[in-house]
C-alpha cells in the first residue's frame, strides 16, 4: 500500500522550488558549491605547495605560471588562495554552528517557558548585545590567545546572542498559536510540544540567519587573521595574506588584491543564498 | 438639489486590467457612464465588481500589476487618459477629489491635521501659509468639527474615526473641486457616525454644489443621497437610471435580484442575499453576458454567447441585457 506523502516533505519541496526560482540564490549556491569543491580538493587543484617558500621568485606579477603572482616569500598566491578556502569555511561553519547549538536552545526555552528562565536568558542576551561583536570576540581571544580554534570559539560567543534572540522571538509567538494551545489542552508533554511545534517554526529563520552569519564569519575570520589574532602562519588564510601584502602594496598590489577578492566572493555567495532563502520563505508565508 | 448641468465627466468603455501571475484580472471591462454638473451619482455593486478600480482609474492611480488598457475619460472636455501622468497631479485634489474608505489610515500619522490640509492649499491654490491656515480652519468648521483651531494642531491619532473622515472630506473639498468621488466613505464607521457623515455629505453637496460620484454596496445610501444610479457587476456597468426610476422599474435581472434582497449595513463583502451561484471568476469570466450563469431569465444560445450592449430603453434609463435589446 502506498503511504501518503508527509506534509512536511511537501513543504520542503515547495520551498526548495521557490529557492531555485530565485536567481540570486542559485548563483550563490553555484559559487558556494565551487568554493566547497575547491576546499575539499585544494591539494589537487593548487598548482604549487602553499607553504614552501621560494625567495628567488618573490613578488612576481601575475603570469601564466603564477596566475595571481607570488608573495614576498615567493609562494604562489593562487595556490594559497585556494587553500585559504579551507580556513574560511572551517571557521565560518564551526563558529556559526556552535553559536546555534548554544544560542538556539537557550532562546527557545526562554521564550517558551517565560518566567525566571526567560529573565535570566534575556539578561544574558542583552548583556552580550551591549558589547559590539568584534570586541566580544577580541576579549575572548585576549583570554584564550590566537589560533584557528580559539577564533572559531570567540566568534561563536559573539554570534550566540543573535540566535538566542531569534529563537526566543519565534518561541514567544509560537506558544500563542492555536494549535500549540490545543496540544497543551490535550495534555501533550512539554518536551513533545517544543520538539514538534516550536522547533519546526524556528528552522526557517534559523537557516536564513545562519547563512548570513556564515557571511559575517568569513569577513570576521579575515579581519582577525589580518590582525594576527586568528590563524597562525604558515597556514594560508586570506586575512593573513592581506596583512603580509600590506607592506608591499605599492610595488606588488596583486598580492593584496586577490585575497580580498576571494573573501568578497565567498561572503557574497553566502549573502546571495541567505537573501534567496529569505525571499523563498517569505513567499511561502504570503501565499 | 441643484438642477443638472452639462456633462462633467464622461467615461467611455473604460478597461482596467491587472496582469498577475495567476492570470489577467479584468477588474473594469468596458464601463461607460456620464456624471453631470451638480449631480450626485451612485455607483453600486458587490465587492469585487470594480467600483473602486473605476474610481482610481479616473484618478489614474492604478499601481502595477494593474494598467488602464482602453477607453476614454473626458473631464470638462479634456481627455484624461492621454495626458502625461505629471499633469494629473494638478487635477487631483483640485478639480477632482477622492475620499477613501478607511478614515483610520487615510491620514499621515507623523504630521498634524493642519499640515496635511495646508499643503494642499499652498500647492494647488498657491496660498500663503497664513491664508491657507485660515481657509483650513474654515473647512474644518464646514465639516462640523468642534474647536477647529485646536484640531488644526493635533495629530491624527488624537482624533476619532468619524472626525478623521470629516478631516478627509474637508481636505477633499478645500480647493473647491468640481467632482468629488467618495469610495464607501462610511463603511468603516459605526452606525451613528455613518448617519452623521452621510448627512454631512448631503448638506455639503447642497451647499457647495459639486458633483459627487458615490461608491457603495448599499442601496439604502443610494436612495438617500443619489439622483442617478449605476449598477456594476463583474467590471461592467449593467444598468443606469435616475434613482427613482431604477427603484421603481429595475430592468436588469441582476438589479431586480438586488432589490429583492436589500442588504443591511453589516459586514463588507458579504454575499448579497439569495442570488444563486457564485460571483464570477475575475480571471476567467463567463462568456457572453457575465451574469448569465446566475440569471433566471437567461436565454441559452444568446446570453452565453454574445455580450449585450448598453441601450437606452426609456428616457435616461440604460440597460445591458438581451431581454431589453429589442424594444
Amino acid at each position: 500500500m502506498k503511504t501518503l506523502p508527509s506534509p512536511r516533505l511537501r513543504v520542503i519541496k515547495e520551498t526548495a522550488h521557490e529557492v531555485f526560482r530565485n536567481t540570486n540564490a542559485v548563483i550563490g549556491l553555484i559559487i558556494l558549491g565551487l568554493i566547497i569543491v575547491t576546499a575539499i580538493f585544494a591539494d589537487q587543484i593548487a598548482p604549487y605547495d602553499p607553504i614552501v617558500s621560494y625567495p628567488e621568485e618573490a613578488l612576481q606579477p601575475p603570469s601564466f605560471s603564477h596566475l595571481m603572482g607570488t608573495d614576498d616569500l615567493g609562494r604562489d598566491i593562487f595556490s594559497r588562495v585556494i587553500h585559504g578556502t579551507r580556513v574560511s569555511l572551517y571557521v565560518a561553519f564551526t563558529s556559526t554552528v556552535l553559536a546555534i547549538c548554544i544560542g538556539a536552545p537557550l532562546g527557545m526555552l526562554g521564550g517558551y517557558f517565560g518566567g525566571v528562565i526567560d529573565i535570566i536568558i534575556s539578561r544574558i542576551t542583552d548583556m552580550l548585545f551591549a558589547i559590539p561583536d568584534v570586541l566580544l570576540a577580541l576579549t575572548v581571544i585576549a583570554i584564550l590567545g590566537a589560533g584557528i580554534n580559539q577564533l572559531a570559539f570567540a566568534l561563536a560567543v559573539a554570534y550566540t546572542p543573535i540566535f538566542m534572540r531569534l529563537t526566543r522571538g519565534v518561541a514567544l509567538k509560537s506558544r500563542e498559536l492555536p494549535y500549540v494551545e490545543a496540544a497543551r489542552a490535550i495534555g501533550e508533554r512539554e518536551h513533545d510540544i517544543i520538539l514538534n511545534y516550536i522547533l519546526p517554526n524556528c528552522i526557517p529563520p534559523l537557516i536564513v540567519q545562519a547563512t548570513l552569519t556564515f557571511a559575517y564569519a568569513v569577513l570576521a575570520e579575515a579581519a582577525f587573521s589580518f590582525l594576527a589574532l586568528g590563524v597562525k602562519p604558515p597556514t594560508p588564510s586570506w586575512g593573513r595574506m592581506l596583512s603580509d601584502a600590506r607592506v608591499f602594496m605599492v610595488t606588488a598590489p596583486w598580492s593584496a588584491f586577490f585575497p580580498g577578492i576571494a573573501i568578497f566572493i565567498t561572503s557574497m555567495a553566502f549573502n546571495l543564498i541567505g537573501d534567496g532563502l529569505r525571499d523563498a520563505f517569505d513567499v511561502r508565508l504570503r501565499t | 438639489m441643484k438642477s443638472k448641468g452639462q456633462s462633467l465627466l464622461e467615461v467611455y468603455d473604460l478597461k482596467t486590467y491587472f496582469f498577475t501571475r495567476k492570470g489577467i484580472v479584468k477588474a473594469v471591462d468596458g464601463v461607460t457612464f456620464t456624471v453631470h454638473e451638480h449631480e450626485t451619482v451612485g455607483l453600486v455593486g458587490e465587492s469585487g465588481s470594480g467600483k473602486s478600480v473605476t474610481a482610481f482609474s479616473i484618478m489614474r492611480l492604478i499601481d502595477p500589476p494593474g494598467r488602464i488598457v482602453g477607453g476614454k475619460i473626458y473631464f470638462k472636455g479634456e481627455e484624461l487618459l492621454s495626458k502625461p501622468l505629471k499633469e494629473m497631479t494638478k487635477i487631483r485634489g483640485r478639480y477632482i477629489s477622492m475620499v477613501m474608505q478607511d478614515p483610520m489610515t487615510a491620514l499621515n500619522p507623523v504630521y498634524t491635521v493642519g499640515e496635511q490640509m495646508v499643503e494642499v492649499l499652498t500647492r494647488h491654490l498657491r496660498m500663503r501659509k497664513s491664508e491657507a491656515k485660515r481657509r483650513a480652519i474654515e473647512m474644518l468648521e464646514l465639516v462640523k468639527i468642534p474647536s477647529p483651531e485646536t484640531r488644526f494642531h493635533e495629530y491624527p491619532h488624537q482624533l476619532s474615526g468619524g472626525m478623521r473622515q470629516r478631516v478627509v472630506i474637508a481636505i477633499a473639498l478645500s480647493c473647491n473641486p468640481s467632482l468629488l468621488i467618495a469610495d464607501e466613505p462610511t463603511t468603516n464607521l459605526d452606525v451613528t457616525t455613518q448617519a452623521e457623515i452621510l448627512n454631512l455629505l448631503k448638506e455639503l453637496q447642497e451647499k457647495i454644489g459639486m458633483s459627487t460620484l458615490f461608491i457603495t454596496h448599499n442601496f439604502g445610501v443610494i436612495a438617500q443621497l443619489c439622483e442617478r444610479v449605476i449598477v456594476m457587476y463583474a467590471g461592467e456597468a449593467l444598468e443606469q437610471a435616475d434613482t427613482v426610476e431604477l427603484l421603481r422599474n429595475p430592468l436588469h435581472p441582476y438589479t431586480k435580484a438586488l432589490m429583492e434582497c436589500i442588504p443591511r449595513r453589516e459586514s463588507r463583502g458579504k454575499r448579497l442575499g439569495s442570488i444563486p451561484g457564485m460571483p464570477p471568476n475575475p480571471v476567467n469570466p463567463p462568456t457572453g453576458c457575465k451574469f448569465h450563469p446566475r440569471c433566471p431569465y437567461a436565454i441559452k444560445g444568446l446570453c452565453d454567447r454574445r455580450k449585450p450592449k448598453l441601450v437606452e430603453v426609456r428616457s435616461g434609463h440604460f440597460v445591458a441585457c438581451h431581454l431589453h435589446e429589442v424594444t
Binding site: L138 | R92, G93, M100, D102, P109
Partner: protein
C-alpha cells in the same frame, strides 16, 4: 514616554553592571597565573611578582577583589596600563575623540548614501535602478572593510596622491586637514555600513508606500517627490534609525581594524595594543568604555524616535 526613557537608562545600567562582572572576570579566566601573564614581560624577579600580586590584591578572595575593583571603577580608576604606566582611563579618554570622529564621519557617509538610494530604489521596485541599488548594497555587505581601506589607500594615497593615509587631525581645530584625513577611513566604514542600511531603508520605504495615507497623499495631488520624501520617508525612518543605532556597534568594532590600517590614534588601536601586550587593565577599561559608548548611542536613538514619531511622544 518619560517612563520609557527611564526604563532604557536603567536597563542600560544593569547591562553595564553585568558587563563589569564579565570584564572583571577576564583576568581570572586566563589560563595560568594572571600576574605572571601580565607582568611576566617586564618583571621576572619572584619577589617583585609577589609584591605586585599583593599590590593588586590578587591574593584576596574573589568577591572582595570584585568589590574593590568595582569601588575603584566607580571612582574612575580601573588601574594603570602596564605598558604605558599611566591610568588606563586617561589613555582611553585621550584617544576617544579620534574614534568618535571616525564613527561620526562613517555614519554621515553611510546615511547620505543609503537613505537616498533606499528611497529611489523603493519608488520603482524591480526596475533597473532598483537592481543597481541592491547590487550596491550587496557589495557593501560582502566587502571586507579592511581590504576596502587598503584598496582606497592604494588608489587615493599612493597612486593618485590625493589624500593622506595616516594620522588624525582634529577637525574642530583644523577643518580642512581634519576632514582630509577623516575622509578615507570614514568612506571605508561608511560604504560598508551603507550596504546594510540601504536594504533596511528600501524595505522600510516599500512597507510605507503600500499604506493608505500614501495613496491619499497622491489623491490630494501631491507630486511624487513630495510623496516620497515628505510623506513616506519620515514614516520609514524608524526602522532605519533602529538599524543605524545597532550598526553603530559594528562601527565601534570595525573601527578597531580601520584605525590600525590608517594609523588612526583612536581607542581601537589602543585596545589592539592592549591585546597584543596582554595589558589587561587597559583591555578591561577599553571594553567598558566601548560598552558605555554603545549604551549612549542607543539612548540617543531612543530620543531621536521621539522627535520623529509624534505617536511615541503622546503614547508612552
Amino acid at each position: 514616554m518619560l517612563k520609557h526613557i527611564i526604563k532604557t537608562i536603567l536597563t542600560g545600567f544593569l547591562n553595564l553592571f553585568l558587563i563589569s562582572i564579565l570584564v572583571f572576570s577576564i583576568i581570572h579566566l586566563l589560563p595560568g597565573d594572571p600576574i605572571t601573564i601580565m607582568f611576566g614581560m617586564w618583571e621576572q624577579n619572584p619577589e617583585q611578582i609577589e609584591f605586585l600580586r599583593h599590590k593588586y590584591g590578587f591574593d584576596l578572595p574573589i568577591h572582595i577583589q570584585y568589590f574593590r575593583w568595582l569601588m575603584n571603577l566607580l571612582q574612575g580608576n580601573i588601574g594603570e596600563s602596564i605598558r604605558y604606566h599611566e591610568p588606563a582611563f586617561k589613555l582611553i579618554l585621550e584617544r576617544m575623540p579620534a574614534t568618535l570622529w571616525l564613527v561620526f564621519g562613517s555614519m554621515i557617509i553611510s546615511l547620505s548614501l543609503s537613505i537616498p538610494i533606499g528611497v529611489i530604489t523603493a519608488s520603482k521596485p524591480h526596475s533597473k535602478r532598483d537592481h543597481l541599488g541592491m547590487i550596491f548594497a550587496l557589495i557593501g555587505i560582502s566587502t571586507p572593510g579592511f581590504w576596502l581601506g587598503l584598496m582606497l589607500i592604494l588608489v587615493f594615497s599612493l597612486y593618485l596622491k590625493l589624500l593622506p593615509s595616516y594620522g588624525f587631525v582634529d577637525p574642530l581645530q583644523n577643518p580642512i586637514e581634519g576632514i582630509r584625513r577623516l575622509l578615507l577611513p570614514s568612506l571605508t566604514l561608511g560604504v560598508i555600513l551603507a550596504g546594510t542600511v540601504t536594504r533596511t531603508a528600501r524595505s522600510s520605504m516599500l512597507e510605507v508606500l503600500r499604506l493608505d495615507y500614501i495613496k491619499f497623499a497622491r489623491l490630494k495631488g501631491m507630486p511624487e517627490r513630495v510623496v516620497l520624501f515628505k510623506h513616506a520617508l519620515r514614516n520609514a525612518l524608524i526602522p532605519i534609525i533602529t538599524i543605524a543605532g545597532i550598526q553603530t556597534g559594528y562601527l565601534l568594532g570595525g573601527s578597531v581594524i580601520i584605525e590600525q590600517i590608517f594609523g588612526w590614534p583612536g581607542m581601537g588601536r589602543l585596545i589592539l595594543q592592549a591585546t597584543y601586550t596582554r595589558d589587561y587593565f587597559l583591555l578591561q577599561g577599553s571594553i567598558l568604555v566601548y560598552a558605555a559608548l554603545f549604551f549612549v548611542v542607543n539612548l540617543i536613538v531612543d530620543l531621536i524616535y521621539v522627535l520623529v514619531d509624534p505617536r511615541i511622544r503622546y503614547e508612552r
